[in-house]
Symmetry: C2
Subunit: 474 residues, 2 copies
């Protein structure tokens, strides 16, 4: 099998004959082709002998064309590359009419590229983002596998609406125009595919807990959905979530796991995605040129290295409220939501302040029970729960987790308080009835992680085909 461009540039087998296939990025002076095959952000230089090339062929060598080229790999005399192929055999496999091809070698806006998401992976920026996304996903699987976690596929279509993590998409095969009705005139879901009303999952956590109570350590990595009309640069209607769940772990062990995990996967990209990160780093620098110096972000790889090198600051909610209450932006009423008293829900502006205040990733823990989900472990103070959120520079919350309420009676009581039907979740309650134990887990929105690592600013640009209100193209 022939070598990829990544292999050729790494191994530099000078003096060998190589055959490569890829897409023309640029063609200059009728002589130098920059060829990409997507295996790396770098292009391979092909030198063609235009005097001996048929003119018809020469014309077809245009940006975006697919070609096959063969020749000797030699040291390059030119700047910018160590090796190049001196082409003796060239074939254009698929043309690309320069009048029509939307991706010309110039800067395109992110908005324009979103409209042609079917082609944008061919650009430097999206190629880099997609390769880093791959490496992050691989690092996730590899991390958990080596720590003896089992990958659990929790259901996507769910009959339970209990977690209350957000608005849900309904899944149905009923005729929308003439749906079957019950005698009372309601939709007769017994006629639907699953003989009940079903939705797309908002989280695999409850099912992951079932796995953890059997296999001790499990994790999910699958799509989750929110039918929320949030047209922001931070929200997707369809996104991928990672949810580890560990039996016998308390909240401290949970924090240890989350911190170690995040550092590992970020370190992995620093070690394995150098070229792509370098490109995105200079892209970001270029983007921010027009900003005043104080508003510019630090160099991408330095930001990542900082997270890897430093302990996350663990701060209780109560302590955080104190800090926020006495902060300048609170006193000067610069926060949109002023912090008056204990119990307030933290907004993204507060999270950002805290990260800046500590100049480190922050783990907030022990939140008021009232602002967190029913399944979180109630502390002895009966006011707070063993919840944690991890806040990252620039993007705010990246991880949310908790120790779970393992006491049957307390959990039942909480479900009642939250108005959750016990019958709906009898299977969940069963785990507290039979061999219950302390256990904990967390959720990480994968796109938030990709956003952080790539330094991109809009979450629609870190997933191949984003789903947002009004948009389900491709």
């Amino acid at each position: 099998m022939s070598l990829s461009i990544k292999d050729i540039l790494q191994q530099k087998p000078i003096g060998t004959t190589q055959e490569v296939k890829g897409w023309v990025r640029t063609f200059r002076s009728n002589r130098f082709i920059a060829l990409s095959d997507g295996s790396t952000i770098k292009t391979l230089q092909l030198v063609v002998d235009f005097e001996n090339l048929e003119e018809g062929l020469l014309k077809k060598i245009a940006t975006g064309a697919a070609i096959r080229a063969k020749g000797d790999l030699l040291s390059s005399q030119g700047k910018g590359q160590d090796v190049e192929i001196h082409v003796t055999d060239l074939e254009v496999l698929g043309e690309s009419n320069p009048e029509e091809y939307p991706l010309q070698p110039k800067k395109h806006s992110m908005e324009f590229l979103r409209d042609i998401a079917h082609l944008r992976m061919r650009t430097n920026t999206f190629g880099a983002v997609m390769r880093i996304r791959h490496h992050l996903a691989y690092a996730v699987h590899d991390y958990f596998h080596k720590k003896q976690f089992f990958y659990l596929h929790t259901p996507i279509i769910t009959g339970s609406d209990a977690e209350g993590a957000g608005e849900m998409f309904n899944v149905s095969i009923l005729d929308k125009k003439n749906p079957p009705l019950t005698e009372e005139g309601n939709i007769d879901y017994s006629k639907d595919f699953f003989a009940k009303e079903t939705n797309l999952t908002v989280s695999g956590q409850l099912e992951a807990e079932l796995g953890a109570m059997a296999l001790s350590k499990v994790y999910t990595f699958g799509p989750t959905f929110r039918a929320e009309n949030s047209n922001t640069s931070r929200h997707l209607a369809e996104f991928w979530m990672i949810e580890p769940e560990v039996a016998f772990n308390d909240l401290n062990a949970n924090m240890d796991l989350a911190e170690d995990f995040l550092k590992h996967v970020i370190r992995y990209t620093l070690e394995n995605c150098g070229d792509d990160l370098e490109f995105l780093e200079s892209r970001l620098k270029e983007e921010e040129k027009s900003k005043p110096e104080k508003d510019r972000s630090e160099p991408l790889r330095e930001k990542l290295q900082f997270v890897v090198d430093n302990n996350f600051r663990r701060v209780s909610y109560t302590e955080a409220i104190d800090i926020l209450r006495n902060s300048k932006p609170n006193k000067k009423k610069r926060f949109n939501y002023l912090i008056d008293e204990w119990g307030a829900d933290l907004q993204s502006e507060h999270e950002k302040y805290l990260v800046q205040h500590f100049n480190a990733p922050v783990i907030l823990f022990d939140y008021p029970a009232k602002i967190k989900a029913f399944y979180m472990r109630l502390n002895e103070d009966e006011k707070t729960v063993r919840a944690m959120d991890i806040l990252f520079p620039g993007i705010g919350e990246i991880v949310g987790g908790s120790q779970r309420e393992e006491r049957y009676d307390v959990l039942r009581g909480k479900m009642n308080d939250f108005g959750i039907d016990e019958k709906e979740l009898d299977w969940y309650l069963d785990t507290r009835k039979f061999g219950s134990c302390v256990h904990s887990g967390f959720g990480l929105g994968f796109e938030r992680l990709v956003l952080f690592v790539t330094g991109m600013t809009n979450i629609r640009d870190v997933i191949p085909f984003p789903r947002t209100p009004g948009n389900a193209e491709f």
Copy 2:
């Protein structure tokens, strides 16, 4: 951090003090606890000194209870284990009332266990299946990663209904009882979340092709859906699919990839899931005891080794039809669908016959264009397409793939023939317009693979929470 039971049984650190946490499988003679933590199918023997144990505590040591135990790890004098812990400190973390706990140490039917899928992962059989499922998933990611493929998350919610791979689930947030209507009285999807009608994906292939035309080698591994009312042991409404797609690969390279890939992941389980496979192998043997000898399957690991060791037989559709037409079951009219002439669609009975005939996994290729999808590469004979199906002993089709039609005009023609709206798939056509090239890929239903490797007979038993007609529990 404390060692898992798997670690303890492998490393045997005799003479050290160990603390373990897990669930009681059995407790006999008031003395021997078989403890499971799910890390392995094996249990760890704990020896308790019942004379010095409080009676209240002793009573709570029941099947299913969660416990923490500490003591010295010593060589075991008893049969069945090398090491055991002599417990000096024991705590019951979560009780399990034997009167209520459904999983008692006896044989339960698969049907019963399906009803309590929230607990069944605690059994030997489902623990083994879930661990093997994990290892297979890991092997998939690891295989493609090492071959420089990029993992691509193709969309789950899709606005296009073009592939025609099967019935789809509708995704909507419209009020079913009072849906918004257009002036013509139709459902007004412009008011829906995505401002158009959307469904759950049946395949990520078309989007994977977009990835391959930019990054050369990509694969998907995500959930796919079929709203088909198939209540069989081979069908799920929600299942996970793996779809690699490679630019510049023709059908032969595609077959090579599929064969190498399947052998790799199966070999991986033979090397890494020995204990679980051994258990499932004897389980299967036990299950088939009552069958006449000739109907019994070969030992599980031998079956897997056979696939790893042997070349898959590559047979053209035309040759296969000849074989089937002249076969005994065809002549004696024992097939439900008799094979009369070239062009017939192959049924599962024919696929099974071919696998037996060749006594090997079979790759069928070059199918009639009429019975295959529009995107498959038309051969020069203009009658057949470069499709391939891989047939495995016992389960029939496990992989379906093809070389894709890379010629713009031919593809457009095929879309017209198949009644597919060009405007719906203009993005797909664009890849044939700009830098098109030969490319190929295939799809593998992950649960079919788990079914094959584990020797289970019902596909509902190889996914944690199966979705089938009338069933979306948990």
